[in-house]
Symmetry: C2
Subunit: 371 residues, 2 copies
C-alpha cells in the first residue's frame, strides 16, 4: 500500500471566492498499486494537473455545461497521467495520457470509457519543455488561444490591426498576446498587478498595458483606439472591460468570448456587471462569439501541434508558469487564479518525486514542496 494524497470537493459555495478547506479539502488515502482492480481500465500515476478558472463554476451547485463536482470525490481537472498498469490494448505501462477529466490525486484507476472518450495518448516530451507546458502554452490554454483566433478572427488578423486582451498575463492571455504580436497586431493588454503589466509590456511587447484594478478601462481604450476604435477584443473576463471594449470598438469589431471570470466569484448575482451598450453591437456591426476549445480540437489540433510547441522550444513564444509542487498545494494555487496572485499558467506537478524527468527539477530546487 502507498499513500494517495488528493483534493476532494467538500461543499457547494455558490458565491464569492473558493475557500481551501471549505469548498475543497485535502485527504490522504491509500492504494495498493499491485492489486487494485482495473475492471478493464488503467491504473495511472497522475503526473500534472491544470487548474483553470472554469472549474470554479462546477462548485456552485447550479447548472453548468460540465457536471458539478461530487461531494467527497476528487475534483476533476485537465491533466497528464502516466500508465502503471493497463487492461486497455491501446496503452502500456510508461505511456502518457492527456486526459480531460483527471481526478486531483496522486494515483487513479481510470475507467476504459473515460480513457477512450476523454483521453489522448501523448509522447513524452523530448524538446526540453516541462510537462506543465503541455497543460498550458502547448496544451489546452495554447489551443484555446490559437484555435479561437484562427476560427473567429481568421484572415482578419493582419499587421496594423489592433487588439485588446484581458487576463493577458494568464494562461490563455499570454499566448493570445504573442500570437497577435507575431502577426503584427498592436496589442493593448490589461492585468491585475503592475508586475504583470511590466511583464506584458517589456517581455511580450504589448504597445499599451493597464492595471484593471487601478485604471479606467474606458479611458485607456479610448486613448489607444482613437477615433477608429479597436478591431478585436479577446475577452477572458467580461463585465466592465467588455463594456469598455464595445464602447471603443472599431466598425466590424470582433469579440472572441472565452470566459467571464469577472462574474465567477460574485457575492450576489446583482454584483456581476453586464454591458449596457449592446446597441453598439448593431450599429458597429460587431461580432461577439463564444468559444470553447473542445468544439474545435479535431479541426485544428494537427496544425497546433506542428506549430506551437516548437515555437516555445525555440523561444519564439515565451511562457510564464505558476507551478505548484505537490497535489496538496492545489487548493492554494486554485485560489490564486482569482486573487490575481498567480504568475502565468497555474499548474500542479503531482509527481514531484520525478521532477527531473518532467523537466522541472531545476525549479523544484527553489520551490516549496507540499507533502
Amino acid at each position: 500500500m502507498v499513500v494517495n494524497r488528493r483534493i476532494v470537493f467538500n461543499q457547494v459555495k455558490a458565491t464569492g471566492l473558493p475557500e481551501p478547506g471549505v469548498t475543497t479539502r485535502p485527504e490522504q488515502t491509500e492504494i495498493d498499486l499491485d492489486n487494485v482492480a482495473l475492471n478493464g481500465g488503467v491504473l495511472v500515476r497522475n503526473v500534472a494537473a491544470s487548474l483553470d478558472p472554469t472549474m470554479r463554476n462546477r462548485m456552485k451547485g447550479g447548472v453548468y455545461f460540465t457536471p458539478n463536482y461530487v461531494k467527497d470525490e476528487p475534483i476533476l481537472c485537465i491533466g497528464i497521467s502516466e500508465v502503471l498498469r493497463s487492461e486497455l490494448d491501446a496503452y502500456k505501462p510508461g505511456d502518457l495520457i492527456f486526459i480531460w477529466s483527471q481526478p486531483l490525486e496522486e494515483y487513479s484507476v481510470l475507467p476504459r470509457q473515460l480513457v477512450e472518450q476523454a483521453g489522448r495518448k501523448m509522447d513524452v516530451p523530448t524538446n526540453g519543455l516541462s510537462i506543465t507546458t503541455y497543460l498550458g502554452a502547448a496544451g489546452m490554454a495554447g489551443m484555446t488561444a490559437y484555435m479561437s483566433i484562427k476560427e473567429i478572427i481568421g484572415d482578419r488578423l493582419q499587421p496594423g490591426t489592433t487588439m485588446f486582451v484581458t487576463g493577458a498575463a494568464g494562461a490563455v492571455g499570454q499566448l493570445v498576446v504573442q500570437i497577435a504580436r507575431q502577426a503584427g497586431v498592436k496589442v493593448i493588454a490589461s492585468a491585475g498587478s503592475d508586475d504583470k503589466c511590466r511583464f506584458l509590456r517589456e517581455e511580450l511587447g504589448c504597445e499599451a498595458v493597464f492595471n484593471y484594478k487601478t485604471a479606467d478601462p474606458f479611458e485607456e481604450l479610448k486613448k489607444f483606439g482613437g477615433e477608429r476604435g479597436i478591431d478585436f477584443y479577446f475577452d477572458n473576463v467580461g463585465g466592465t472591460q467588455l463594456e469598455a471594449y464595445i464602447e471603443h470598438s472599431a466598425k466590424y469589431g470582433i469579440i472572441v468570448a472565452c470566459g467571464y471570470i469577472s462574474g465567477y466569484n460574485a457575492d450576489k448575482p446583482e454584483d456581476i456587471v453586464y454591458p449596457k451598450n449592446l446597441f453598439k453591437v448593431v450599429t458597429r456591426e460587431l461580432t461577439y462569439r463564444g468559444f470553447i476549445v473542445s468544439s474545435f480540437i479535431q479541426k485544428h489540433l494537427a496544425s497546433f501541434l506542428a506549430e506551437i510547441p516548437q515555437m516555445i522550444a525555440d523561444g519564439k513564444i515565451k511562457v510564464k508558469e505558476d507551478v505548484t509542487f505537490g497535489v496538496l498545494g492545489a487548493e492554494d494555487a486554485f485560489l490564486r487564479l482569482f486573487t490575481g496572485d498567480n504568475e502565468g499558467k497555474v499548474a500542479v506537478l503531482i509527481d514531484v518525486d520525478h521532477a527531473d524527468k518532467w523537466n522541472l527539477g531545476e525549479r523544484k530546487k527553489t520551490a516549496k514542496v507540499w507533502q
Copy 2:
C-alpha cells in the same frame, strides 16, 4: 409656384416617444418648379418615403452612426423620387431614384453629390407591385432580412432548424419569417398585438406566436425550444426578449442583431433592459452579430433583385403594408412604429395625386388622405 408640404425637425427629444408637433412639425412652403436653381443637381417630386425605427435615434441629440437631424430642416428618410428636371447626365425627367436620404417633403432639389453617393436609378415597376413595396419587402426591409440571413446564418438555414423572430409583424420581421419558413425552418414569432399574432400564425405559417406585451418570453421560448434550445434569433428589439433567447438558445446558436427597438424610446437610460446572462454566449458558443444592410448591398443586391420582387409578385411572399397617403400624415405614421399600432411596413405615399400610377389607387379609395 406650387405648394410644398413637408415635415421638419423641430426639437431634440432624448427620451420617450417621438411627439408630433414637438419633435417634428408640419410646414407648408412654396417652390417654383420651373425656375428653382439646380446647381448641378436634380429637381424631384418625392413619390414615397419609408419610415423606420432607426430614424428615432437621429432625434435624440446624441452621437449616432448617422447624423442627427437639423432643426427646421425636413427630416430625412429612405425614399423614391421622380426626376422633374435634371442637370445630371445620368438622370432625365421621369426617371426614378431610390435615395437613402430623401427630405420628407413633396418636392426637393437634390445636390449632385447626394444623388451620386446615395442614389440608385430604378425602373418604374411593371410587375404590379406598389411603389411602397419597393421601400419595404422589395426594398430596404426586404434586403435587410434577406442579406442578413444570407450573411450571418448562411448554410445553416436548413429544414428542421428553429428560429425566434421579434418584431415579426414589422417590415423586416415579416420577410424574415417567410424566408425562414420557405427554407423549412420552424419559427416562433412575437409581436405586440393579438391581431398581429393571428396574422403571423395563420397567414405566415409560424409554428408558435406570442404577444410580448402579455406573455412571458422565457416561458414561451422554453416551451418551443425544449431541451435542445432554439437555433437562431432574429433580433429587432433587444432587451428582455434578447435575454430570453440567450437563456433558451441551442448550442452554437446565432443571433442576427438588426435593431434594439426596446431601447429607442426609454424615458431613462436605466429603463433599457440589457441581458444578464451573457456568460451563456461563452458556454453555448453563441454568435451575436450586428448587421446594417448598407454594408452588404453591393455583395447581395443582384441576387436579391433577381429573387424577392418576383416572389412577392407571384404571391409566394406575402406583404403587409401600412401606407399613409400624404406627407402630412407622416408624423402619426412614425409614432405608430413605436406604439405597435402599425400593420406591417410603414410607408408614406407622398405623391398622392398619382396613386394609380404607383399601384396604390385602389387602396387610396378607402384611405384617409392628408392634405
